[in-house]
């Protein structure tokens, strides 16, 4: 590492675990940090960790973390020389990246042109076809329902309709038969218009039992660009990832080499630099892979690549943005061991994975060899409905896949979250499932397989269903807590006045 820090001060235009992750990298590089926050986040951890903090506006993302003008003003006022966008919010907004550069600040990410080229799914798909990258059979630029009907017939049902400007599963509809087509087009259009201000749609073959396998790529501004292997991200709900791992149990060394090369070619086609991810759809029956999209930013699941490839992606993002040369070649990288990430969400699997909000009464993270937790919450934190319900990323690294699964099971069982419902028990059920053990989880597996056995989803039903062995221990613990925690600082507020049914309260009155 050079002795001089690549920047003096970086504004982190994000919140939660990723803001904290970036600030840690800055600290290690000797760079000062500026946090930004909304009124709802005044006491958030990322604000406490930064050297300075700037209030952006009210809780609504539009007024705060999506407010480009306020962010750039905050960077200039605090004399920061660069902005790291994290993921989500403005991270893939080409206009923001351009505005940052116009303000003589460095945007830590790719060029606005690269973001623009990959941001539109339809245009990206066309560019990839030209670069010789396999894409899912389909059509772009259709308008009338009739055109869609004809296209769907040619592709063959089921088909997938999705927003050209889309992302995150929005404006996306699976259509199984022609009778559903016009409704799907209409609702996808309105969702696309609402979410992206752009109602254009594309249509393609829906690959029902496909896997989602993506490749991390990394490049500098001097023409070096490598891939850092794959991440298997097929455990999804609502088209969003919840568990990721690397290496993928499906890839042979030959396929890995081929897909890695395709990812590098795809990235070079848009003159890419900094961290990015090429997402592929992988059909396990044919071993065919198809370009899905490129994420022109750091991914949520970047830690599993960091652990197995042995590189600090965020530090290198910063150094590359400052113009440093990336000193490694493709041959310098190898996959070491196996890593898995579980995204701990404040959401209720038994209630359609809908978010759960509230105050964290207890938040205890697991510790141990090979366990990494990237989180933005602690006991007492508020989980509100304004932002993504990601509480923490639990990441494990071990010698091989079996050992990593075991390590994850132990770590999940030691992760205690009270106050909001989480998906921890649900992920435990996935880890213990033979389909996961066999690497047979496709992107529709959660809805197809796991949701059908509802007892996996809701532990609270155990007591109702009379699973006495489990229920009794819980009842005893809950009852004794009222006795043994009385008078302790954290529980005193609830042990008496606010609990109308507290029998110990009566005890006291008898004795007085």
């Amino acid at each position: 590492m050079t002795s001089k820090p690549p920047f003096t001060k970086i504004l982190v235009a994000n919140r939660g675990e990723i803001a904290i992750r970036i600030m840690r990298a800055c600290k290690e590089l000797g760079i000062k940090t500026v946090a930004v926050y909304s009124e709802a986040d005044a006491n958030a951890q990322h604000v406490q960790l930064a050297d300075e903090a700037v209030l952006l506006g009210s809780a609504a993302p539009k007024e705060s973390y999506l407010n480009a003008d306020a962010l750039i003003r905050a960077a200039l006022d605090s004399k920061a020389d660069a902005i790291h966008p994290g993921y989500g919010f403005l991270s893939e907004n080409a206009a923001f990246a351009a505005a940052v550069e116009s303000a003589n600040l460095t945007f830590i990410g790719p060029s606005p042109d690269s973001i623009r080229a990959m941001g539109d799914k339809a245009e990206a798909k066309i560019a990839m076809k030209e670069a010789g990258i396999p894409t899912v059979p389909g059509f772009e630029g259709l308008e009338s329902n009739n055109d869609f009907k004809k296209a769907a017939k040619e592709i063959g049902y089921p088909v997938l309709i999705k927003a050209s400007a889309g992302g995150g599963g929005k404006g996306m509809r699976v259509v199984n038969a022609e009778s559903e087509l016009s409704d799907a087009i209409e609702s996808a259009r309105s969702e696309a218009l609402n979410s992206f201000g752009d109602e254009r749609l594309l249509i393609e073959k829906y690959l029902a039992d496909a896997h989602h396998i993506e490749f991390q790529i990394f490049g500098d501004k001097h023409g070096t660009l490598v891939h850092l292997f794959e991440r298997e991200c097929s455990v999804q709900r609502r088209h969003q990832k919840i568990i990721e791992e690397t290496p993928s149990p499906l890839l042979t060394p030959e396929l890995r080499e081929q897909m890695g090369q395709a990812a590098v070619t795809a990235s070079k086609a848009v003159n890419y630099f900094n961290a990015g991810t090429i997402e592929f759809i992988f059909d396990p029956t044919t071993s065919q892979y198809y370009f899905l999209e490129m994420n022109t930013r750091l991914q949520v699941e970047h830690p599993i690549t960091e652990l197995t490839a042995g590189i600090d992606l965020v530090q290198w993002q910063i150094r590359i943005a400052a113009g440093e040369k990336f000193p490694f070649a493709q041959n310098d990288f190898h996959q070491h061991g196996h890593a898995i990430e579980c995204r701990v969400y404040a959401e209720d699997p038994a209630n359609g994975f809908l978010p759960s909000t509230g105050s964290l009464l207890q938040f205890i993270e697991p510790h141990g060899p090979g366990i990494r937790v990237d989180s933005g919450f602690s006991t007492g934190s508020e989980v509100n409905h304004f932002y993504d319900p990601l509480l923490a990323k639990l990441i494990v690294h071990a010698e091989n896949r079996d050992a990593a699964i075991q390590r994850m099971q132990t770590a999940l069982s030691e992760f205690i979250v009270h106050g909001v419902v989480t998906n921890i028990d649900f992920m435990q059920a996935v880890m213990a499932h033979e389909d996961f053990a066999n690497g047979k989880v496709s992107t529709r597996w959660v809805e197809k397989t796991l949701l059908s056995s509802s007892k996996l989803l809701d532990n609270r039903q155990h007591t109702l269903n009379g699973h006495l062995a489990v229920g009794l221990q819980n009842l005893i613990a809950a009852a004794l807590a009222d006795v043994v925690f009385v008078g302790s600082r954290s529980q005193s507020a609830v042990s008496n006045e606010s609990d109308p049914f507290n029998p110990w309260k009566q005890t006291k009155s008898y004795r007085n």
Binding site: G168, E191, N194, G352, L354, P355, S356, T357, L361, Q362, I364, H385, F386, Y387, D388, P389, L412, S413, E414, F415, I416, H418, G419, V421, T422, N459, R460, T463, L468, V470, L472, Q473, N474, L475, I476, A477, A478, A479, L480, A481, D482, V483, V484, F485, V486, G487, S488, R489, S490, Q491, V494, S495, S498, D499, F501, N502, P503, W504, T507, Y510
Partner: protein
């Protein structure tokens, strides 16, 4: 209660959801019974900061984490978390689930309300849209009918299970 005061020595009945637990002191330990099943309980260690108790229940070592929020108790044992609700012990009434009412499935903000009182709606028709945590949620009519009341307005923040729209029976 003072920390050094000894623990209560009375027989206690505590109701959680539909179950009643009885705890009796027995020497330095306790005897707990529910549904006629009786077990011995010994408190081995208590960590108040983390809400952790190490217990011996019928000789089995059990580590439990418990948090309290009003009448709710969050309990984690062996990595599994449950939520119990303390009740008065009176027989629980049938849960009023607002058969004709449409409730918010999650906390969020009302983006639009597309019906008003007296409107005739068809099954599946979108009556209201909400937004929360980057998701759009459509509240749709469960059957054909007439709108009786509208309790939500555009821009309003609503809690989970809050009634948004009521239909005539």
């Amino acid at each position: 209660m003072e920390a050094d005061e000894e623990l209560p020595k009375l027989t206690m009945k505590i109701n959680f959801d539909t179950q009643t637990l009885e705890i009796n002191p027995s020497g330095d330990n306790y005897v707990a019974s529910v549904d006629g099943k009786t077990v011995s309980v010994q408190i081995v260690r208590v960590d108040t900061i983390h809400g952790r108790m190490d217990l011996l229940i019928d000789g089995e070592r059990v580590t439990a984490y418990v948090s309290s929020d009003m009448a709710k108790r969050w309990v984690t044992i062996n990595g599994h978390t449950m939520m119990l609700t303390k009740t008065s012990g009176a027989k629980q009434g049938v849960r009023h689930d607002h058969a004709g009412g449409l409730i918010a499935p999650m906390p969020g903000q009302v983006r639009s309300v597309s019906v008003s009182v007296g409107d005739i709606v068809k099954k599946g028709q979108t009556l209201l849209t909400m937004e929360a945590m980057k998701m759009e949620i459509r509240i749709q009519a469960l059957k054909d009918g007439k709108v009786k009341s509208v309790f939500a307005a555009q821009g309003q923040t609503v809690e989970r299970e809050q009634i948004l729209i009521e239909m005539e029976e």
